[in-house]
Symmetry: C2
Subunit: 219 residues, 2 copies
């Protein structure tokens, strides 16, 4: 029975579903490298170790495959971001050190890792061609993560560690500062080593705290 079979595939990825995954991974890589127009199904088939027909069986056509790629990336990245946000310092002993550590985690696990690079490029390259798809990304991605980070910062302010006019603005600035020194390298695909991530995060947190750390009332 085809139906029962398909259900089993979703639950335990072997055989049929294993191919689906390897097709998706290969498609991410090829769309990233070549862009939507430049990518062709044969490249993806070769990279996935699968015949062309199998791709059409699984995903219908090139455009549907592309949509699946974007959805898969968005889900994975969002999961990663929320997992990392859960490690945001709650009631810090060493505010500066803990913020730097958090910034480094956020950067290396979510923003400058391979999923992050892949999705960012697909959005920049094809966002205008698929408005509804990327509008969804925008709400689920930047929209939610900004709000979640703003809530965390607001809590620090409430706990007397920070002094914020507008947590949303502060959240966006925090993210912008974290990437200030890495942006160009990431766009051109240079290797971003851990050391530079740390130094960028350190500089970012230093500036952020100079602007937003609560100062003793008397001094």
């Amino acid at each position: 029975m085809a139906f029962v079979n398909a259900t089993a595939d979703i639950l335990s990825p072997r055989g049929h579903a294993a191919k689906r995954i390897s097709i998706l991974e290969a498609a991410i890589e090829v769309f990233f490298r070549e862009g939507y127009s430049g990518a062709n199904i044969d490249m993806i088939a070769a990279e996935a170790g699968v015949s062309r027909q199998t791709i059409y069986n699984h995903h219908g056509d090139k455009e549907k495959l592309f949509v699946s790629v974007v959805r898969a990336l968005t889900e994975r990245i969002n999961a990663g971001i929320f997992a990392t946000l859960a490690t945001f310092p709650d009631d810090p002993v060493d505010l500066r050190g803990e913020l730097v550590d958090f910034a480094v985690r956020l950067n290396s696990n979510c923003i400058s890792n391979s999923d992050g690079k892949h999705l960012r490029k697909l959005i920049e390259a094809e966002g205008r061609r698929y408005p509804e798809l990327f509008a969804a990304w925008r709400e689920d991605g930047p929209g939610k993560t900004w709000a979640a980070l703003a809530a965390r910062l607001a809590r620090l302010a409430h706990g007397g560690h920070l002094e914020l006019d507008d947590p949303d603005v502060a959240a966006r600035q925090f993210l912008a500062l974290i990437n200030a020194e890495l942006h160009v390298s990431m766009v051109l695909g240079d290797r971003v080593d851990e050391q530079r991530v740390v130094s960028s995060a350190t500089n970012a947190v230093t500036t952020f705290l100079r602007a937003y750390r609560k100062r003793p009332p008397g001094a």
Copy 2:
């Protein structure tokens, strides 16, 4: 005489040279919209109001045309950035207000204008395919403009208006903060109205000055 003719064309853009320019403008638009692979010569010819053969006469082939497009954009943008940098406050009466004005000018004239959007997308999409071309951009673009902005900030520090550890870091952070609230909109091609540019610049300068403004020694 062909040679004399060509020279005249370069000096006064009419006839021959006028076509060259309209081809270049059309190519910018089409490469931006469709990407390198997705763009085709017939689209560019139609948009330029020119026959396909004329494009081949002027630019050789698709790849050479693309290189010309990137060079033209880079030159224009650099000229704009340096012109704007010349308006950086030298000995400010109202530091905050003048920095906000400068940030707004930099953003609307250089970063979020159409050349800026076009070049940014071409770099993101095709940078890895033309390493030497984009390495040149990187040195002429971010490299020089960062250094120039850093020098301006250092002068403000020397004049007693700011307190900087590292002018280079401060310059990159200043640029990052200016775009903190506009980045996503620009990537997806939304209309960025003047009001949001101003509000983003205001927030950026507020934070920047909280971190870097020289404080009276006693307080």
